[in-house]
């Protein structure tokens, strides 16, 4: 019978942002958790909640980067805690909630502010059948990009420097969703999505830092989609100037 292999644990010091309803400000609490190198930041937070402080609040669900609920800032980077190994963070781990979204408690942010603009973007549908061998692709689409894999985690909004200074900015994810509708309408209201995006607080507010694309855990490339949307919006304006009938109004 094979002997069970165990991996040695090392103490990991977590500095975790804390703030409850009614608190006048935030603070950081420190917890030490023994973890082996295969464990993740989310494993550490779960261990803290179950073994040291049951009042610690954070969101998680799937543990494998599918649900997008455990987005948070770890050592200043916007990541999914469930796939961020402590072997990569080092022994000192500072955990904060996502930036640029209202804070509810500890590491939990109000995602309504993130989801809100999605309605105006047209909420593109995902059709997994197209990804299967022999699946039919929509007309005009030669290559399927991975925007369909946006897991709506909010990390792009947290990483975006512009979202931090413009509370009316629609945000990378919602604009990328609008791009999906504009470039591949599938009977959705593409002109409405373009009107939503073609705004000073929409695609034209982006300053091409591409932090959203770099931070996106799903390679959905929101920055690239914003630029494609800009090209579509510019082409639409040119068509309007020359009175073309197909231009979105």
């Amino acid at each position: 019978m094979a002997e069970l292999q165990t991996t040695p644990t090392h103490p990991v010091r977590f500095r975790v942002h804390r703030r409850k309803a009614g608190d006048s400000g935030g603070r950081f609490d420190t917890f030490e958790v023994p973890l082996d190198e295969h464990r993740t930041v989310l494993d550490g937070l779960v261990a803290i909640r179950t073994g040291q402080d049951p009042s610690l609040t954070f969101r998680h669900s799937c543990f494998h980067a599918s649900c997008g609920t455990c987005g948070m800032r770890v050592n200043g980077r916007d990541v999914l805690a469930c796939v961020t190994k402590v072997a990569d963070t080092g022994p000192d781990v500072t955990v904060e909630p996502l930036a640029n979204l209202p804070l509810v408690s500890d590491l939990v942010v109000e995602m309504g502010a993130f989801y809100g603009p999605f309605d105006r973007a047209g909420r593109p549908l995902v059709r997994e059948s197209e990804l299967l061998p022999g699946g039919e692709r929509a007309e005009g689409i030669d290559v399927l990009t991975r925007y369909e894999d946006c897991i709506e985690c909010g990390i792009c909004v947290s990483a975006c420097p512009v979202a931090g200074s413009d509370s009316r900015y629609a945000g990378p994810a919602a604009l990328a969703a609008a791009a999906r509708v504009v470039l591949e309408p599938r009977d959705a209201d593409a002109p409405a999505a373009l009107r939503f995006a073609d705004d000073e607080h929409g695609i034209w507010r982006c300053h091409v830092a591409y932090e959203c694309t770099e931070a996106c855990p799903s390679n959905a490339d929101p920055g690239g989609h914003i630029m494609r949307l800009r090209r579509a919006a510019t082409a639409n304006r040119v068509r309007r100037w020359f009175g073309a009938g197909r231009a979105a109004r």
Binding site: R73, N75, A99, L103, G164, A209, E211, A232
Partner: protein, 138 residues
């Protein structure tokens, strides 16, 4: 009654606004190449605006006669001031070349190659900066 008790015993969880603000533009934590370019573009932009007013102030010395201007020229040839000229050239090069990238990418022209475009333009800028520095101190 129980509903009323629940309402009074559980504190309201009104979300707290937590934006990073404009100072978040310069937060170095977690910054990647595009983020540094974004922050440096703002710093160089502010620096160039400040230089514009400084430049106008210096030009106004011409109205005060040749002595005032000659005195300024002596100061301008000080190695420390020449080093500031190099900083100015860096600011102009970075802001101009990164602005070119932002302009091109911003209209979706080379969006898929924006990182390579940035690196390429910065290499050109570095070469020009080296040549300019040698000429400034020649």
């Amino acid at each position: 009654m129980s509903e009323q008790r629940a309402q009074t015993s559980i504190p309201a969880t009104r979300p707290v606004e937590r934006r990073r603000g404009w100072w978040g533009w310069f937060d170095p934590r977690g910054r990647r190449l595009g983020g540094w370019a974004f922050a440096l573009n703002r710093l160089t932009g502010l620096g160039l605006v400040a230089y514009l007013y400084l430049h106008l102030g210096i030009l106004s010395l011409l109205a005060r006669g040749p002595d005032a201007w000659d005195t300024f020229v002596d100061i301008a040839l000080n190695p420390l001031v020449l080093a500031l000229d190099v900083v100015l050239i860096f600011g102009m090069l970075f802001h101009g070349l990164n602005g070119l990238r932002v302009g091109l990418v911003g209209y979706g022209l080379v969006a898929s190659r924006q990182a390579a475009l940035f690196v390429g333009l910065m290499v050109i800028g570095a070469i020009v900066l080296v040549v300019a520095t040698l000429r400034v101190f020649a």
